[in-house]
């Protein structure tokens, strides 16, 4: 959107007074800010001992928009929401999503993912898959401490991703984008069409 002329205001560079020309008051003011921060509360989280989620200090909690491990959402009846449209795999800049589609066993959609594998080591956690998803099936949760002993272990398949959904729902750490329990507009339209 171009910037309208009414959105622009012209300001003049302020004239420096005698006090400003001393420079020293400004430096003292700056030193004051520095000193204030020196003795202010520290926001460091001592990670292995403390965790951002269990520290009582509010400001150190992970934000609900944090992009961690993926999950595959379920609908109201516990089926995977995904319709195997490949839009997440196409959007993915790291090519870490591998989907094999199959005809859907359910009447409300044509396809469903027979396998759905995300290589969590390859993923760059950019969140473009969840932006691309037309049915809000894939989401990034705020799980941050993802570790494993082998590369194979870090290939998350459909069951694993669905279990991440179950865990995060149980723990009450839904990502902020969740429209939980409701298929999004795209899938509802498909329903009306049949």
């Amino acid at each position: 959107m171009p910037i309208a002329a009414t959105d622009v205001r012209w300001v003049e560079e302020p004239k420096l007074g005698i006090l400003d020309e001393f420079y020293l008051p400004a430096i003292v003011q700056g030193l004051g800010t520095t000193m204030r921060h020196m003795f202010s509360r520290k926001i460091t989280v001592q990670f292995p001992e403390e965790r951002p989620t269990d520290v009582e200090r509010d400001f150190s909690k992970l934000p609900p928009t944090y992009r961690g491990v993926h999950r595959l959402n379920r609908d109201e009846v516990g089926r995977v929401k995904c319709v195997a449209c490949y839009m997440c795999a196409t959007a993915c800049p790291a090519h870490c999503i591998d989907i094999v589609a199959a005809p859907s066993p359910w009447p409300d959609r044509e396809k469903y993912p027979e396998t759905f594998v995300i290589d969590e080591l390859r993923c760059i956690y950019c969140g473009m898959c969840e932006e691309a998803c037309p049915v809000d099936a894939i989401e990034l949760t705020s799980l941050y401490d993802l570790t494993g002993f082998s590369r194979e272990e870090m290939m998350f398949d459909k069951e694993k991703l669905l279990s991440v959904f179950d865990e995060t729902v149980k723990a009450g750490t839904d990502p902020i984008r969740t429209h939980s329990g409701r298929l999004s507009v795209a899938s509802e339209l498909a329903e009306q069409g049949t």
């Binding site: 300001v11 003049e12 560079e13 420096l16 700056g30 520095t34 000193m35 520290k42 001592q46």
Partner: protein
């Protein structure tokens, strides 16, 4: 009369001071990191030992045991010479700087490596200026763009700050009547700290010294953000450590110089008589007071680093040549006039106090003149989005 006893005392002093200096440098690096962290609302290094107190040892070991890489495209001789010059000159400059109780008369032990050197200040200035050779050699021989730019900036910086630095200290020398640093302390004990007489000279000296130590806001040769470390980009392991050592030694030297020239060295006003009567305790107290004054300046440097943005080198040159040199010259002339009138008319030294209002008037007048001078483009307009309210100036 120079005896073998004097010789051995000097050797022992050098050994102890070198050790202490390097240990202090190591811990200053820890302090720097801690202060950097605190200012940024972080905790800082806290894993090695209690509260991170062993961090400098870990850092030192790391410097020692890292692979000593010499890039293939460097000029080997100068590349290896540069860190040695940087660290060597820095430590050499410390030789004449008093770091504890001294006396202008021979006899008792002096807390300075080369006591009663009559060219004290001159020696320090000439040697610390040599430290720039370390930087320029390092930048040139590294044979890459960033180092080269760092070295060039360093030379531009040198011709900016050295003149006001030297001029500002001339006023103090006129007071003392000697280049001897112990005599400078002695004179301040008798007549009061120089900062009270010549606050302007102190300010100019402080700015010059910041540039001399390559500390922000004048760390142009290093400039991590623009030059990826500047002149020491190509250095690793102990060679980089030597550059670091030189830099922090420089900070220590200049801090002690500031305390010596303007804050009366180990002098404590009003309590001096009581302290002098304590015998050996007096030595400890004086040492402590001196170190305290110097560490105040070191902490001040570190705080300033996180307060002021870096100058461009043309800005630094403008500040030095258009502001500091004229101010230093005016200050020097005023000191000369006052000193000469005292001497010619046989007035008491109390007339030196007239320099304090004179300094303040000079600073006020220059600020007023600067406010009156036209700026480059008289007014600059900026387009800002209307939703941002500009903060009214107050």
């Amino acid at each position: 009369m120079y005896t073998w006893r004097d010789f051995w005392i000097t050797v022992i002093t050098i050994a102890v001071v070198m050790g202490a200096l390097q240990l202090t440098c190591a811990y200053l690096i820890l302090l720097e990191r801690k202060i950097a962290a605190w200012v940024q609302d972080r905790i800082g290094p806290n894993r090695a030992g209690p509260r991170g107190l062993f961090q400098p040892i870990a850092d030192g070991l790391k410097f020692l045991f890292k692979e000593d890489i010499i890039p293939s495209h460097v000029d080997k001789v100068f590349y290896l010479l540069a860190p040695a010059v940087a660290a060597g000159t820095a430590t050499l400059a410390f030789a004449v700087v008093p770091f504890g109780p001294t006396s202008a008369d021979p006899g008792e032990y002096q807390f300075v490596i080369a006591p009663r050197l009559d060219i004290g200040i001159l020696f320090t200035f000439s040697i610390t200026s040599l430290a720039v050779y370390g930087i320029i050699l390092g930048g040139w021989s590294s044979n890459d763009k960033y180092s080269m730019l760092g070295a060039l900036r360093s030379s531009a910086q040198l011709i900016s700050y050295e003149i006001p630095l030297g001029l500002s200290v001339l006023g103090v020398i006129l007071f003392t009547g000697s280049l001897n640093l112990e005599r400078a302390i002695q004179q301040q004990i008798e007549g009061g700290w120089n900062i009270l007489y010549q606050p302007l000279a102190f300010l100019i000296f402080l700015v010059g010294v910041l540039a001399e130590c390559n500390r922000l806001p004048f760390d142009l040769p290093e400039a991590e953000q623009e030059l990826v470390g500047g002149y020491h980009t190509e250095y690793g392991a102990l060679k980089f450590g030597l550059f670091f050592l030189g830099e922090y030694t420089h900070m220590i030297t200049t801090s002690f110089l500031l305390a010596t020239l303007f804050f009366g060295g180990w002098h404590v006003p009003w309590l001096q008589g009581w302290i002098d009567g304590l015998g050996f305790g007096a030595v400890i107290i004086k040492l402590g007071v001196f170190v305290l004054k110097a560490s105040f300046f070191i902490v001040f440097y570190m705080l300033l680093r996180w307060t002021l943005p870096r100058f461009r080198f043309d800005q630094l040159m403008g500040l030095a040549w258009k502001v500091l040199i004229p101010l230093a010259l005016v200050n020097l002339v005023c000191v000369m006039i006052v000193e000469e009138s005292i001497r010619a008319n046989g007035l008491s030294h109390a007339w030196r106090w007239s320099l304090l209002p004179i300094s303040l008037v000079i600073v006020g007048a220059s600020a007023m003149a600067a406010a009156k001078l036209p700026r480059r483009p008289a007014q600059v307009s900026l387009a800002v989005p209307a939703r941002f309210e500009t903060v009214p100036r107050g």
